[in-house]
Structure formats: C-alpha cells, structure tokens
C-alpha cells in the first residue's frame, strides 16, 4: 500500500479561468512525479485539459522536469501554462 497526500497547486491565466479558482486541491500518491501531478490536475479540470497538458510544474518557484519526484510536504507547487509576458 502507498500512502496518499493532499496537494495544493497554484493555477494561472487560462487554467485559472477554466477552473474558476486560483488553486487546485488534489490527492496523490506520495511520493509523486511532476508528470503525475499535472495529469491529476488535468483530470480534475477537464475544460482546461489540453492547456494543462502543455503546462509545466514549478516547485518553490523553479521549473521541474516531468520525472521530478515531489516531496509532498512543505513545497509550493504551481502549474505554469505557456507564458506570454513581455
């Protein structure tokens, strides 16, 4: 048996608007990869699934690779859809 953990993921821009909320709360197996977190958020916000599929995960303000393993305690997670600043 694996344990599970609740995660809070900050949402932005088109994903935030589709979710109607600036945070997604999901429950994942612990430990969990960034790719699995993104997949879990996409399943919870189907209206934004294509955009979430091209988004990156940031942990404590730094992008992480899809296979990055997240320590579910004490981290800030953010889902970063393709950016358009400038």
């Amino acid at each position: 048996m694996t344990s599970t953990a609740p995660l809070r993921i900050l949402l932005f821009a088109g994903v935030r608007d589709a979710a109607g909320c600036d945070v997604a709360n999901v429950t994942v197996d612990d430990p969990v990869t960034a790719a699995k977190v993104i997949e879990t958020v996409a399943a919870q916000i189907p209206a934004a699934a294509p955009l979430i599929g091209v988004s990156r995960l940031a942990v404590d303000g730094q992008y992480v690779a899809p296979d990055h393993v997240i320590d579910c305690s004490d981290v800030e997670l953010a889902l970063i859809p393709p950016v358009s600043g400038g």
Binding site: F12, G61, G85
Partner: protein, 142 residues
C-alpha cells in the same frame, strides 16, 4: 547592479534610466515592449486590441527575472541590468516591459537585450490577456 520590479503603474523610462549609469560603461541600451493596437494572426487576419491585462506568479516571476538578469550580466559582461514588468491593465501605447543594460562596449549591450527578451518570453511566469474591440477576451498561451 541588478534591478527587478513588478509594478502596477505606468513604466516611465526616465524613472529607470539612471539605474544603469556607471563611469566604466560606454553603452546603454533599452527595450520597451508596448501594447500594440493591431495583431496579425497566423491566418493573416488583423485583430484590433482594445487593451491588455497581465497576470503573474509574482514571487516566481521575480525570482526568474533575477536569475535571467544575473545570467545576462555574466554572459555579456554587463555593469547593470534593469527589468521592469507591469501587471494588471496595460493600455495601448503603454509599456508592459522595460529592459535596460549597460556595458563597456556596445556589442554586449546590443546582444544582451534580445537574449533577455527571448528568455523572458519563454520562461517567466507572466501571462497576457487580450481584450479585443468586440470585448472578447483571450489568454495568450503560445
């Protein structure tokens, strides 16, 4: 020196121009990205922008802009780098972003600006929402 700011009010070049002064620099270069009225889409259609709105993951954007400025400073031997990005509404003709740098010789300052802008547009968590003349809105996720 590195100056990074996210602001909610108009960006005025005059407020920032002295930040890159240094007696051993001979080249000061600035870029301002300004809200443009017309956008030509990939299909060739012209859309008229009424206004833009910018949103950011602020703490991450500031950290990423600072990293970017530090990398540019090393890579191009810059004396100083300024990056200011406006958030919230940015009307037509006003600046959403201002990047400035100074270097001993002009080739470094010229090379640094597009390098910074390309990376800013690829990686810094800031998003633009277009409001077109028909009041329709669209988040830009390129």
């Amino acid at each position: 020196m590195i100056f990074i700011r996210l602001v909610q009010t108009p960006i005025e070049l005059v407020d920032w121009s002295s930040k890159i002064d240094d007696p051993d620099t001979g080249a000061h270069a600035w870029f301002a990205g300004v809200t443009r009225r017309k956008t030509t889409t990939a299909s060739g259609a012209v859309r008229i922008t009424k206004t833009l709105h910018y949103q950011a993951h602020q703490s991450m954007a500031e950290a990423q802009l600072r990293q970017l400025a530090e990398q540019a400073k090393q890579r191009y031997s810059l004396a100083a780098v300024v990056i200011v990005h406006r958030l919230g509404e940015v009307p037509i003709g006003q600046a959403s972003v201002l990047v400035g740098c100074s270097s001993a010789h002009r080739s470094d300052a010229f090379a640094a600006l597009p390098w910074i802008m390309d990376r800013l547009k690829a990686d810094v968590p800031i998003w633009k929402r277009e409001t077109y003349m028909d009041e329709s809105t669209e988040w830009i996720h390129p």
